[in-house]
Every structure is written in C-alpha cells, then in structure tokens.
Symmetry: C2
Subunit: 382 residues, 2 copies
C-alpha cells in the first residue's frame, strides 16, 4: 500500500522515518501521505514527527500516546494553538480510484488519502514549527490521533483530560480543510431512534397482525416535508439539516414486522445546545416512541475575540460558517475560541477523489506566517 | 431437548424407534413429537415410520431420502392421496415457553413443537395406513421432508420430479391444520423489492446529497393506504394482503443514504396467476424501481370434483378458503385437485403456544375413516 522502499513497511521500524520540515511544504504533505496512518495506526507518523521536532531547540515537546504537543516558551502575553489530526479514514478500495494510490501528483495537484483531510494542514503546522523560531505570539502545536473514529477515542480529548495545562491558549486554529477561508464555529450534531411497534403475524394471515413498517410512513413523511432552517449566529449563517440516516424493519419474508426503527441525524446551529436540539426533534416526532442516542454541541464562531479578528484580517477573506462538527467544539467547551483554517476542499474529505493543490498548501502557510510574524508578507506589506 | 430415555438421543440410533400405530392416535401424536425432526433432521422419524409400515402386507413402500410413499394396490377405480410433512420449524427458545418442552399434556391438550404443524395429521395418516386394510378407494400415503424451508428443498417437490408415477391420484388431501374443516385451494404468494436511489453525502452537508430513505415515504404511504381485496373463487372467499415485510437503508450514522429497499409480499387469490399478481403490484409502484424476487401460484379450491364433493359431505362442515400457501398448489399444478384437512389451529403453527386437543385428532381420524369406508360411522350412519 506504500511507495516506501522499506521491505518491512508493515512493521513499525526501529528508527523513525525522516521528515524534511524545511523543504517545500507541498512535498512534505506528499511525504506525510506516504506514511499510512489510518486511525489506530498513527504510531510511525507520530514517531517521525517527534523525531523531527526533537532537534528544534525553540520547542518544548510532550508526547502522550500518539499525540504530540510542541510549544514555544517566549513569554508572550498571547498564545495561539495550531492543531491537526494525524489519522485518516481507511484507504479507498474501489479498483482504479485515483485515491487508491496513496500518493500521486497530477501536475500540481496531489491525489490520495489524506490529501484534503488533513496531511496538508499537518505539513503547514510542521513547517511553521520548524521555521517560526521567533513568532509574535507564543504558539502551541498539537498533533493528535484518532479523530476519524468515535469521539471517546480522540487523542485531543485524551490530552484535554490528562494534560489540560498543555493546551491552554487564547485562540485556537484547527487546520481542517476550509479552502483557505476561515470557517468559524461548527454545527452541533445529535442522533435519535424513532420507533414503531406492531404485532407480528404470518404474512399469509396479515390481518392478524399490525405492520410496523407501514406505521413508519408518517415518520418518513415528516422527514421528507421538513424544511431545515438557516440560523444566523454571530454574523455567520449556519445551515441545519434533519435526515434519516438508517432504517430497518422486518425479520423474514413471511412475517408481518412488529418493529421498525428510523435513525435520524439532526445537525443544529450553535445557537442551540443538545437539550434544545432534542426538544425540537422530540416535538416533531411527538406521536412516536423516540430516544436520543448521541449528541455533541456545536461551537459559536467566536470571531469577536481580538486574536480571531486579527487572524481573519490577516487571511483577508470573508469568514464562513463551518457546517460539519469539528474539534473546534472541544476548544469551545473549554472557553477557547477556535476556528477552522486549512488547505483543500472539505467536500472531498473521505472521498476517492481526495486531492489538494500545491498552491493551496503554500497559501495556507503564507497566511499563518504573515499573522504570526515569522516572515514579512511579500507584496501586500503587513 | 427430548423426554426420550435414550442417553444417545442426539445420535441417529442403529435400530429405529418403535411406533405403535394401532393405539390411541393422540398418544401416537405425542410419540411423534418426542422425535425431534426440525427440517434437515427428519431421518430418525422417517426411519421409525418406514420400520412401522414395512410390516404391513397391504402396503407397497417406497423410500426417497427422508420421504416415504406407502400405497394400497387394490385396483379401485379411484385413488386418493393423503400427504403430510415430517419436519417442524426449530424448537422455541423463549425461556419458560410451554412449547420449549417438546411434549407436555395439560389435561387433554397436547403442547409442544409440532402439536399443530403437523404431527397430529401425520399420526392420523399412520393410524389410517395401519388399520385401513380394505378402503373403498385406493390410498397413497406420502410422508415428506423439508416443507418448512425454501421450496427448492421440498421432499414433495423432489418426489414430483423423481417419481411422479408414485404420486398419481384423483384427489389429494394435505393433513395441514384446518381445525377439522376442509380448506380448499390456497392463495398465491409473490415478493418484490421496491427501491429508491439518492445521492450519498456527508450528513453535515446534507444538501449536497439526496436522501433515498425520505424518497421511500410514498412507498410506505401506498402500502399503509392499500385496501386488500377479498376475491370469490369457486364459491370460497380468498382474502388477499399486501405488506412490507422488510425495509433497509443507510450505511452509517453520518452519511445521507443513497439507497433504500422495501421488500413487499403480495398474497393473491387463486383467480390470478403470478404474472397477473406482478402486473398489479408493478402498477401500484409504477413510479418506483421494482423487481419481483419470488412467486408461487395459488390453487383453486377444486371442490367441484366428485371425490372432493363426497369428502366435504363426509366431513359435514362448510368448507373454507385456505389463505396460506401450502403444498396443495403442487398437486394443483399437476392437475390433481387438493384440499387441506387436519387437526389443530393453523394460527398456532410456529408459535410458542402450539397445541392440539386429543378430541381434534380423534375427529380428524374419524372423518377420514368414515369417508374411506374403514369403519362405519357411529351414530350418524353412512
């Protein structure tokens, strides 16, 4: 699955792989993609990053499992957190899909798993960590494991529980793909099971039973007729959605089903907490048995914070809302304003067509360098 | 699982179990129930039956797998077939259910797997086979395997293919449970998959996709609103039904589903063949992708046949339609009129509450003895 020359690529090597943090940041992205790091297998990549950062005297390192925290300790009054996850979803299995080759350049576009989500962002973090020896704010770089799986496994969540002092900051940027625009906050998410019950019977004598699947017709009608809202929060428009994501019912081809279950996912704007979201969905399905099975609050954009405002100004583009739930919500829960900002199109994440351009990675790095004062901006001044 | 004293009850014994065909037919039913014969495991019961019938000089025996055919060869101008299956559905697993004890008498009611479907009918066949040495019509007794599983495994189907000459007759009676009433013909059955397709997307950006489960709302509405017909065929009223028996859609809690499938079972009166049934269902769901996955024609009641008419007269009760598909349809396909007639309530078949009364088994035997001239009817005359 790799293009690495090592004949023992499936075995964690004794010596970490070498990373060149001072070369072209897009080439570094490709190098990171070459190190398979599907959730649960972040070890070799974490080792390589730890090894590359350990030689940098301006950073204080901390490792926790396959998560790494690297901090400047310059005594600045303001500290910014730059965070990104090391893991990817599994490699594509569709024969012939471009993404099945972990790495391939087509012209100046890089294809493969992680191109968008989010080896480009991690490469930008690494380039900044290596070159920003004297930033205008203190910087905490966080690289973490297990973002693409259930939240309880999250390396960032683990750090928050075990070492919250390492994560302190005035403002956080997650380098998730946003097409180079600041995306503020995120929608919350919640899941429900809406159930109907009937009476089982042999389908040859259907009138002896009650069909629970037929009884689910109004549930699907409510979902099909629902008009999701768009909610303005702190000046950004959050688009909500309400969807059946699964349906199941019936046990055999000759039995009237006595049970049907519709799993519903409600993505809600950050003006609501999970309880308010639940109340809305319970009201919609008040004629049905319903339970909530999952819930995570969103995050308000927090763009009114001075650090956030200055960052938006440095990027120079109109900020947008983030629709998907991201780890900005974890920072938000701790009172740290957080935004998403990274190279690549989030719509390509997890797809077989995942890709990112060399220019997008360069632009992301340049914006952060400009804001953090590592280099004077060329052309526009600063 | 058995009350048999043998310590090696799970192993097919070298010597067949002994059956007393001339004792009380209800006690014989209990004895048959003690021999576990879930589909695929009919061997020990078939061995016991073969062994018991082999000593009877008035019968010519034929064995095919676990199916047995026993015929009188008296040269009568008319031949009647009495058929029953040896297998049962699996034993109940609900703790404490009465049916979990394969055999238990509560007063004069016999509880356990096979009480209704159809060890009582098989016991009646065996009692007739042993005692009817000089019936007024030639009789063919058929005991067969694999009725409770997919039709392709049916022992009766196998006999029809391999030895159709053994099954010839003017009229057939299946001893399936009918509460002691003649139930004529049977409904046909057909199954369909009605499908919707959408466009997959991450549920955080649901507006990028199209929800296939929501698109199935009208399918469930059509089913919920449908009024099944009752159709008169040869004087019997066949009640139809149209039901979703399974529904499935969705692959993950955060993906807009691009596919949903509803499995529909249409049970149709024997005035229609499978093609006519299909045309009706295709018309109902003409706005949807649909395929037919299964279809078996029903059987007209055939009560106008002289042998059937004389049998109905001997039973002395108003005949009824059979709603469930039974093997009468196999006889019907070969041009042999066939009805269902047996002890016990078909609604209890396959349930944990399966039971039959001693009187019901006795009455079934008496009606057949009367009709076949084995004994003069007591009281009513003949």
């Amino acid at each position: 699955m790799h293009s690495k020359p090592s004949p023992a690529s499936a075995i964690r090597p004794a010596a970490p792989l070498e990373l060149d943090l001072r070369g072209d940041v897009a080439d570094l992205t490709a190098r990171l993609m070459d190190i398979e790091s599907v959730s649960g297998n972040e070890g070799p990549l974490a080792d390589a990053i730890e090894s590359a950062l350990r030689n940098l005297p301006h950073l204080v390192l901390h490792r926790d499992g396959d998560a790494i925290v690297a901090r400047t300790m310059l005594g600045h009054p303001e500290r910014v957190v730059l965070a990104g996850h090391l893991d990817t979803v599994p490699l594509p299995t569709t024969p012939g899909a471009r993404g099945t080759v972990p790495v391939s350049w087509e012209g100046e576009t890089l294809y493969g798993r992680g191109a968008t989500d989010m080896k480009g962002g991690v490469a930008v973090q690494l380039a900044l960590a290596a070159t920003l020896e004297n930033p205008n704010r203190d910087v905490t770089f966080i690289f973490y494991d297990h973002e693409e799986v259930e939240g309880s496994k999250s390396g960032l969540g683990r750090l928050f529980r075990s070492s919250p002092e390492l994560l302190a900051g005035d403002f956080a940027i997650l380098l998730e793909p946003t097409h180079g625009t600041v995306e503020g906050g995120c929608n919350g998410t919640s899941r429900y099971k809406v159930r109907t019950r009937g009476v089982a019977a042999h389908s040859a004598r259907a009138w002896m039973g009650e069909n629970a699947i037929h009884a689910a017709a109004p549930i699907l009608r409510i979902l099909a007729d629902y008009s999701p809202k768009t909610v303005d929060v702190d000046g950004l428009a959050y688009r909500e959605s309400l969807n059946a994501v699964r349906i199941s019912g019936g046990i055999a081809g000759n039995v009237i089903p006595d049970y049907c279950e519709v799993e519903v996912n409600y993505r809600f704007a950050p003006d609501k907490d999970v309880a308010a979201a639940e109340a809305h969905v319970f009201e919609l399905f008040k004629d049905f048995e319903i339970i909530r099975t999952d819930g995570a609050p969103g995050a308000r954009p927090g763009l009114q914070h001075p650090a956030a405002a200055s960052f938006v100004a440095a990027v120079g583009r109109e900020p947008k809302p983030k629709f998907g739930w991201t780890d900005v919500a974890r920072f938000s829960e701790l009172g740290i304003p957080a935004v998403n900002f990274g190279p690549g199109d989030a719509l390509l994440a997890h797809s077989d067509d995942e890709h990112v351009t060399r220019a997008a990675i360069h632009e992301c790095l340049a914006a952060l360098e400009l804001w953090l004062g590592g280099k004077p901006a060329t052309g526009e001044g600063s």
